[in-house]
């Protein structure tokens, strides 16, 4: 019988530790599929960040360096400069990338480092128990914004995909979601596109993935998926914000 579907080679045959309804597992799969597609698993060095995704070396069958909180783009810079033949990606959450690591992401992007950054935006600090993140929506209640995020005191959520698209070194910047089959198929396409930029050596590529955190949102998985459609996407629009054509 012909096999039509299988676990990506780049993904280990293990259970994840993620909560029910969390999107990390789905996003991991899409990333692994993209690695398989380009046949880069054996030359990939992943850079793990601090947060729920720190264990990515437990799930991806690739070499991994664990970075300090927010520093993954700087670590990836060192990796790529020392081993330019490697395929290098970081996988970071919103607290990691858009708060404590803003300097590192902006300057790695601006230098046009030939790496790919997967940015998982679930509007909260998941690992530490659901505190307010730089992407927390205005009015959203978290464990450190018990009255809801107040724009006058906490500022507005940061739209990283659009922000980075402004920078000269960025070749590709997109925002996707995995809350519906249609969005998931598009996410798969854009992650593949981002990887293609690096495979071809065309510069820095960035994909923001809107993601559910049912545990910290206090929502069931289906309600969490619905929240992405109803609350997140209106503020964080899906789309491609930068797509530099080949020089």
């Amino acid at each position: 019988m012909q096999q039509v579907f299988h676990r990506p080679v780049s993904l280990k045959d293990v259970q994840t530790h993620f909560c029910p309804g969390c999107h990390h597992g789905t996003i991991h799969r899409l990333v692994a599929e993209a690695m398989d597609h380009f046949g880069v698993q054996q030359r990939t060095i992943g850079v793990a960040s601090v947060g729920c995704s720190v264990f990515l070396y437990g799930y991806f069958d690739i070499d991994v360096v664990e970075a300090p909180h927010g520093r993954a783009p700087a670590v990836a810079t060192g990796v790529k400069r020392a081993r330019p033949e490697s395929f290098v990606f970081t996988y970071q959450g919103d607290g990691d990338l858009a708060a404590i690591g803003t300097a590192e992401i902006i300057h790695a992007a601006n230098r046009g480092e030939d790496i790919t950054v997967l940015f998982v935006n679930n509007t909260t600090y998941g690992m530490t128990g659901g505190q307010m993140a730089p992407t927390t929506l205005v009015g959203q209640k978290t464990s450190t914004s018990p009255y809801g995020r107040d724009k006058s005191k906490d500022g507005s959520p940061i739209r990283m995909a659009e922000l980075l698209a402004q920078l000269g070194g960025v070749a590709f910047s997109a925002r996707v979601a995995v809350n519906s089959p249609k969005n998931l198929m598009d996410a798969k396409k854009q992650i593949r596109e981002a990887f293609d930029y690096q495979v071809q050596g065309k510069g820095f590529s960035f994909v923001e993935v809107l993601s559910a955190c049912p545990t910290n949102w206090g929502a069931k998985p289906l309600a969490a998926n619905a929240r992405i459609a109803e609350e997140m996407i209106p503020y964080f629009p899906l789309g491609v914000f930068k797509k530099e054509e080949a020089a």
């Binding site: 698993q41 054996q42 030359r43 990939t44 060095i45 850079v47 793990a48 720190v54 070396y57 069958d61 690739i62 070499d63 991994v64 360096v65 664990e66 970075a67 300090p68 520093r71 700087a74 670590v75 990836a76 810079t77 060192g78 990796v79 790529k80 400069r81 020392a82 081993r83 033949e85 490697s86 395929f87 300097a103 590192e104 902006i106 300057h107 230098r111």
Partner: protein, 353 residues
């Protein structure tokens, strides 16, 4: 005859790094060490290496972490406030057992302080510096020649023990010009870097990390690190003694102030005083055994530092109860560097006490 150059200490350190095979440098401008990135930004591209002026000290140390995780010889340099910012990365490198060389041409503090010669970063350098209870090897050159030689040595030690190594100087050793004989790197057997990430390339997965959550894992990891530090203490102590064999007062000083102390000791000898000099070259590991021996013979020790008393604690810990330890220090700042004559007076007073 090998060639002799007339260069600054900072340039000598950069040249030593290149001779040691370092091809990756990541740094951020700060006085008084900027000659190092300036030299390497010029030289590394010619050698097929990479120079990055990072967005921050934190960026620089983490680029070093990444390059080092790939097995490359890489370094960064900075000065005191910048080194404070790098401590997070140094702790992660120590925890992940990554080699790497960090040059600290230290300034005077605390805070923004000043750019004068200072040894106020002794504690920060030798006691761990960042969080988590680790140690790094610390080498303290006192000449332009040693800036070159010890930087070269630092790369071998880093690879041998899989640890960050700091070369600790100040504006005196960094900015002064002296003769330098740029000797070739001595051959040394070093273990293959079978831990370095490379992309699996058909082999086993390699992971460079400092997170250990399994039962007993982190404790075992810390005992493993501790055992390495014990091995360094046994094998890697370097110190220098001058006229210590018949001394009844032993001056202990490291780095820049040891040069001034050396002249003061010579003045004391001219005056007929039996004074010797002991200079720790490695600050971690601290040369406890050699110092205890020399101090025990002399019976009296005078510790001189460019701070209000830091290394003196380590001296007291190792010389034992029979030895009288006194201290003379000058906190850093403009016009605070003691002259040889001032130190001679301190020595003379101690000898008469």
């Amino acid at each position: 005859m090998s060639k002799r150059l007339f260069v600054k200490g900072n340039e000598a350190a950069a040249m030593g790094a290149v001779e040691a095979g370092c091809r990756y440098y990541f740094g951020y401008p700060i006085t008084p060490q900027s000659d190092i990135p300036e030299y390497l930004s010029r030289e590394l591209p010619k050698l097929g290496g990479e120079f990055i002026q990072a967005e921050s000290e934190i960026g620089a140390i983490n680029m070093l972490l990444g390059a080092s995780a790939c097995g490359a010889r890489a370094m960064t340099s900075s000065s005191s406030p910048g080194i404070s910012l790098k401590q997070e990365g140094i702790s992660y490198m120590a925890g992940s057992e990554l080699p790497g060389v960090i040059i600290n041409i230290s300034r005077s503090g605390p805070g923004l302080g000043g750019i004068d010669a200072s040894q106020s970063d002794y504690f920060q350098s030798v006691k761990g510096g960042g969080h988590g209870g680790y140690r790094i090897l610390v080498l303290a050159p006192n000449s332009v020649q040693e800036m070159y030689d010890l930087t070269m040595h630092a790369f071998d030690l880093a690879d041998l023990y899989r640890t960050p190594v700091m070369v600790l100087g100040d504006s005196v050793v960094g900015q002064m010009k002296e003769a330098l004989v740029p000797n070739p790197r001595p051959a040394r057997e070093l273990p293959a870097k079978e831990w370095a990430v490379r992309g699996k390339q058909g082999g086993e997965q390699r992971v460079v990390k400092s997170l250990f959550l399994g039962d007993g894992e982190l404790e075992a990891h810390n005992w493993h690190l501790h055992a390495k530090y014990q091995l360094m203490k046994e094998r890697e102590c370097i110190s220098e003694e001058q006229q210590s064999s018949d001394a009844t007062l032993l001056v202990v000083a490291f780095g820049s102030v040891s040069r001034i102390a050396q002249t003061a000791v010579a003045l004391a000898r001219e005056a007929g005083l039996k004074v010797g000099l002991f200079r720790p070259v490695t600050l971690f590991p601290f040369p406890e055994v050699a110092l205890a021996q020399a101090a025990g013979k002399a019976g009296r020790v005078l510790v001189i530092e460019l701070n209000t008393g830091q290394m003196v604690d380590d001296v007291r810990l190792c010389v034992g109860h029979g030895v009288e330890v006194s201290f003379y220090g000058r906190p850093p700042g403009a016009a605070s560097l003691p002259s040889p004559e001032e130190l001679f007076e301190v020595i003379r007073t101690r000898c008469q006490a």
